[in-house]
């Protein structure tokens, strides 16, 4: 093997790596381009305030899905945030225990469970017990999907906080629970919050767990014990429909969803850079 051959091979390989990496970025750009192009033209005032109209009628909107998504995610956060933070605290405070090992394992397993299986489980647990589809069951399903990210971010953030901080507080006679709630948590709040925002961004587009739980609803509904529409589920229903009008609504809804998710991701990025938890 001559040195020229080896040099050429070296350069060639680097070229291939760069080309393949650039190709990998294409799908994101293509998806964003297409959705922005088709989505912006679908968005107008009617889009935000009207309910979906029958095929052929102009001026249909997705007000019910926007309200539904907001409510479902809000409820899911209410369920998931306290529980996730509490588990995260346990994992960082008692990391040597056997239970912590199994809990951490459960977090990893929960993270890997396909979202459709979560849908089945909540259907069996909640929907079957209640007897009908409901928004609250959708929220429970989403909250289960939010948990791993919240737990991990809480645990990893609290790990960074030095023990001296805790010891200082305890030595002043502050009870343990107050030390955790008033000293440790505030010190790591930005890290935990960015985990929460990221988990919201992740479940905002989840469709599969909502199929058999929140189900969908063509009307405006704010009753959490009734089926409720959401952005991802109307994207799914309208995308596979054969009607041009509905496709347009789906593009608009996709644009809204992507915009929300991108904004949440950017907020997390900025928060992580600006208010990094460090000691």
């Amino acid at each position: 093997m001559t040195i020229e051959y080896r040099n050429i091979r070296n350069k060639l390989f680097k070229g291939i790596v760069i080309i393949l990496t650039v190709i990998c970025t294409l799908p994101l750009l293509l998806v964003l381009y297409r959705i922005t192009k088709e989505g912006i033209s679908a968005i107008n005032w009617d889009f935000f305030v009207n309910l979906p109209k029958p095929v052929g009628e102009k001026g249909g909107g997705i007000a019910n899905a926007l309200v539904g998504s907001g409510l479902i995610i809000l409820m899911a956060s209410v369920f998931a945030i306290p529980l996730g933070i509490s588990i995260g605290i346990y994992l960082s405070e008692f990391k040597k225990t056997k239970l912590a090992y199994f809990t951490l394992l459960s977090v990893d397993v929960l993270q890997g469970i396909p979202s459709i299986v979560i849908g089945i489980i909540i259907y069996l647990w909640v929907v079957k017990t209640m007897g009908h589809f409901s928004a609250v069951s959708g929220s429970i399903a989403l909250s289960m999907m939010m948990l791993p990210a919240i737990i991990k971010s809480t645990e990893e953030t609290l790990k960074l906080i030095p023990d001296t901080l805790k010891e200082a507080s305890l030595s002043l006679g502050v009870p343990y629970y107050r030390t955790i709630l008033k000293v440790i948590l505030p010190a790591g709040i930005t890290g935990i919050l960015s985990g929460v925002i990221l988990s919201v961004a992740r479940v905002a587009g989840e469709t599969a767990p909502l199929l058999f739980t929140a189900f969908g609803n063509p009307f405006m509904n704010t009753n959490i014990t009734k089926p409720m529409s959401s952005l991802p589920s109307i994207i799914f229903n309208y995308a596979i429909s054969p009607y041009e009008d509905w496709h347009k609504l789906a593009w608009g809804a996709s644009f809204m969803l992507i915009a929300i998710i991108l904004v949440l991701n950017i907020i997390t990025k900025i928060a992580q850079r600006k208010w990094r938890v460090q000691f």
């Binding site: 080896r6 091979r9 390989f13 680097k14 291939i16 790596v17 760069i18 393949l20 990496t21 190709i23 990998c24 994101l28 293509l30 998806v31 297409r34 959705i35 529980l83 509490s86 588990i87 346990y90 994992l91 008692f94 239970l99 912590a100 809990t103 394992l105 459960s106 977090v107 929960l110 890997g112 469970i113 396909p114 979202s115 459709i116 299986v117 849908g119 089945i120 489980i121 069996l124 737990i151 009870p175 343990y176 629970y177 961004a201 587009g205 989840e206 469709t207 599969a208 199929l211 058999f212 991802p232 994207i235 799914f236 995308a239 596979i240 496709h247 789906a250 996709s254 998710i261 991701n265």
Partner: protein
């Protein structure tokens, strides 16, 4: 001024026995709450498994092993053979892996070796992360309107029936969706290769390609394997995009271009319409299968990562 104000806040306070008892009680219940939430998660996980198992018992009893090799899925005559979906699931996932491996390896080398820091690295890292942020349903929607026509014209040139939708189309979308998951691990392990190993090779006159081939790849083999495994776990359970693009046919796929169905897509399509106990139970049994397989994959992947980070 500030000193004064904060000084005023401090009040000498006599803490009575009652007060102490109250604090102790809160303290104990706080610790109990932490413990309960941690136990709760483990219990929920076990409960998921048990629920799936119990709910799929009617189908396990009625169909037995035939569920795995039965070729026909016909709810009308109460016949449930899962082979078409098993093949569909494995085929799409494996094809997606084959498509994604060169890319995730390349991006891993790009971020972990060639461009470890700086603006370029930052941009590409964010783009790859955002690939994971796009919801499955939007990939499916985009695939229907962009990828399907492309595949259809490819199929016309190849002379196969131009469905557009099918195993091949879903695999491409799946590959795009799992690349970020594999990359996050691959890039990390590649960047963890000790500098002295690489420097030793450079000092012997190796080119960068030779360092990658002889040092980095052998050293990170298990980590890269774990990355691929996690991608596989994602691909097996991915639902929405596949449901929209695979064509939903209950016939065993004959080629990679034919339409098919995966376990996840069958569940998504038929679960709400499933009438009859065995029908519903058969669908839940597929959910159980997905749960068990992804759990095993995740546990193995975790082991590998752990061993790697210890090394």
């Amino acid at each position: 001024m500030t000193i004064n104000r904060s000084y005023r806040k401090i009040k000498l306070q006599y803490i009575g026995r009652k007060e102490i008892r109250r604090i102790n009680f809160t303290e104990a219940s706080f610790k109990k709450m932490l413990l309960l939430s941690a136990i709760g998660l483990v219990v929920v996980l076990l409960a998921i498994f048990v629920t799936l198992l119990i709910s799929s018992l009617p189908s396990i009893k009625a169909i037995g092993v035939g569920f795995i090799y039965g070729k026909t899925w016909d709810p009308v005559v109460d016949h449930y053979g899962g082979l078409p979906f098993l093949i569909g699931t494995l085929l799409t996932a494996l094809l997606a892996l084959i498509i994604s491996i060169p890319f995730s390896l390349a991006v891993g080398l790009f971020l972990g070796e060639y461009f470890r820091s700086g603006v370029i690295s930052g941009i590409f890292k964010n783009i790859i992360e955002l690939l994971a942020a796009i919801p499955s349903v939007i990939y499916g929607f985009w695939g229907l309107f962009v990828l399907v026509p492309l595949v259809r014209s490819l199929e016309t040139t190849l002379g196969v029936p131009p469905y557009g939708v099918g195993i091949f189309t879903s695999s491409i979308i799946l590959a795009i969706m799992i690349i970020p998951y594999s990359v996050s691990l691959t890039a990390q392990v590649i960047s963890l290769v000790p500098a002295n190993l690489k420097e030793a090779a450079y000092s012997l006159g190796a080119t960068r390609f030779e360092v990658i081939k002889n040092i980095i790849l052998p050293y990170t083999r298990s980590g890269i394997f774990a990355g691929i495994l996690l991608g596989l776990g994602r691909a097996l359970g991915e639902t929405m995009a596949v449901t929209m693009l695979i064509g939903n046919s209950h016939i065993i796929p004959t080629s990679i271009f034919s339409p098919g169905n995966t376990m996840a897509s069958v569940i998504a399509n038929e679960f709400t319409e499933a009438t009859g106990d065995i029908y519903l139970s058969a669908l839940i049994e597929m959910g159980l299968f997905l749960f068990v397989v992804t759990t095993i994959i995740n546990v193995i992947g975790r082991r590998v990562i752990k061993r790697f980070s210890i090394n």
